[in-house]
Amino acid sequence: MYRKEKPLPLKSSASSLTNNLTVFISPEKGSMSYAVVHKSVVNVISSSLDGSTVTNRQVVCKEPSAVQQNTPMVIQAKWISLPTRTVLVLTSLRGIQMFESDGSAMIYWHALGDPSSSDTQDQTNYGRGIAGVGDSFICVGTQIGEIHVFNVPAKGTNIMLKESLVGHKHPICDLTSGPNKLISSDEQGNIFIWSLQPNGSLKQTGSVMGKGVPCSSLVLWNDIIVGGYGDGQLRVYCAKTAKLAATVNAHARWVNAIDVAPETGRILSVSEDTFAKVWQLKEGNLPEIEYKYSESVTDLQLVGGQFIQKGGRGFCVTGYDNSDITFFVQN
């Protein structure tokens, strides 16, 4: 169904993290950009749509007023496209950073944890899980289970922390969103559904109890939630009722990332077991999922996977310790 295409080489290798690949398609600029975390830097690579020109950039995660010299390990990087603006959001062991979409300028820094605290437990509080909601909100999950909601203006650096959503008792793994909805998952496998209220606040309107296995990656498509789990399963839930619709014994190891093609409801899942697998969602009273395609990328523990086209006719993956973005295109 898919064939392997020429890889795109990064400046340095991908770290072992979940969701370690983000893609930004910019039709007006005529370019595709990819970002992959390598330790404390983010490799950003942009290519024109015909592939003729390729540019590289490394975004370094540095604290603006760094007392300590060493740079913290980056946990996640993700482009968030709001209706008026696209920003590159980074989370690390120390805080949350936002950059202009090309990674050129830092526009916001939010420290997490308190390095001066005497209790080592309070010293770090990493961020993980990034999603955009509504017209101007960017949500970021944290280790202590809070979800910070930032108000991002159409221009400039006047970004404000609007509220912090409390509910999760465990570290957040991933966030995803749909129209006026935010979905969050944590290390116990709990999933919370939050709805955007007319007054602009987010309210929890549903939840799924986990069974102790982290839900590392989440997608939402037409009110169907799909989660990728540490035990190799995918689980499909109805977002309206929070009821389980299907479980898939999908992978032999940890599922590190999943993605959805918005036009067709195709799902991509990648795992440490070297496999990238493609699935098809079906809407209905009881949502369904079907197996479509499977490909092993030899000797690579896959850490990131994204569709590169809205219909799911192509996708790319990254693997731990490897500096290629590997592409697959539909025949």
Partner: protein, 356 residues
């Protein structure tokens, strides 16, 4: 490290009593109570340089001496072996089982030496207190941090190449068969549920790969079955030790390694004190060679000097920037300085780190 030293001591026909003394001294220093108590305090990850310095010191905690080439080789072998163990864990919790396999083996090495056994029991208790009851997500974050520490190290190890678990490019072979992690169901089945949560149908598919069920959950008990073989002694059958074509690649992006953190320094200081008191009187040193023959070791030692020229010409070709060239030079000089210094017992460990 202990597995490798044990194999080399036997291969070099060192008298049993002497070999035993060497291993006991190193294990006793490695697991010294004060050092372990410090090590188990929550702290940021060591820089690569600090880590190497710790093991340089530990390797010289007995009457045994290693020259720079042999020390390099020892460190390459042990780091690649540990990277392999962490990489191949079926699930993140297995990293604790790997460590328990190490501890079990140490217990066998020390036999009835009561004092060292007590130290090992203390480490076991610390390990259980700190790590026995973590969640799956916490184990995963630790494993990811370890994997990122070993990222971009691709040294080829002959025993791995022979066993076909490593490719000639230094990457580990990841099988798409074998045992599943405990708690993971065999890929290939979809279950559908209705609104009441009842299973209404199942569909099978051919997922690629062919796996067998789990071998069970490894035990954290003092004397339990660990299930996993990762972390056990690969060299128990007399097998030779080699890094072939030892391509030592250092990455340019390691910003972290430039500044050793104060905590690591404090612990090195402590370790230095502990060792200092032990190695005051060295009369009959053993020189251990990690290579097959002395000649090979000499060649490797000579080759250690060569990369300076090689690296220089290479850097000029790729990038004419002077700064990089100097960095590369001072890096190599720095490495040599560490090795030179570590054979001198009076050297202060912190001095070594500054030189490096």
């Amino acid at each position: 490290m202990i597995y490798i030293l044990d194999q080399r001591l036997r291969a070099q026909n060192i008298a049993d009593e002497k070999a035993k003394k060497v291993l006991h001294d190193i294990i006793a220093t490695m697991f010294h109570k004060r050092f372990m108590d410090e090590l188990f305090k929550p702290q940021p990850l060591y820089s690569k340089k600090a880590m190497r310095t710790v093991f340089d010191r530990l390797a010289h905690a007995s009457i045994m001496r290693l020259n720079a080439a042999s020390m390099d080789k020892l460190y390459d072998l042990m780091t690649m072996a540990f990277k392999y163990q962490v990489s191949m864990c079926l699930k993140p919790r297995d990293i604790i089982l790997v460590t328990l396999n190490h501890l079990d083996a140490m217990r066998n090495f020390v036999g009835d030496a009561a004092e060292i056994r007590q130290q090992l029991d203390h480490v076991y208790r610390l390990l259980m207190e700190s790590f026995a009851s973590l969640s799956m997500g916490e184990y995963q974050l630790i494993r990811q941090t370890l994997l990122n520490f070993f990222q971009d190290m691709h040294i080829r190890v002959s025993i791995f190449l022979k066993d076909k678990v490593q490719n000639s490019n230094g990457r580990f072979v990841l099988p798409t068969s074998g045992s599943l992690p405990h708690g993971t169901e065999t890929p290939g089945l979809i279950r559908y549920y209705n609104e009441n949560g009842n299973e209404i149908k199942t569909i099978q598919f051919t997922p690629g790969g062919s796996y067998q069920g789990s071998q069970g959950e490894g035990s954290f008990d003092m004397k339990g079955s660990r299930v996993t073989k990762l972390g056990t002694n690969m060299y128990s059958v007399s097998r030779t030790i080699e890094t072939t074509g030892s391509t030592r690649t250092t990455t340019s992006s390691d910003i972290e390694s430039s500044t050793p953190d104060p905590l690591a320094k404090a612990q090195l200081d402590l370790l230095s004190q502990l060792i200092g008191s032990k190695t005051a009187s060295n009369k009959s040193e053993i020189r251990l060679n990690l290579f097959k023959t002395d000649k090979e070791e000499e060649q490797a030692e000579a080759a250690l000097m060569k990369p300076i020229e090689l690296a220089e010409s290479k850097v000029v070709k790729i990038d004419a920037s002077k700064k990089q060239k100097n960095d590369e030079l001072s890096r190599i000089m720095g490495e040599l300085a560490v090795n030179e210094g570590s054979s001198n017992d009076n050297d202060d460990l912190l001095d070594l780190m500054d030189k490096a």
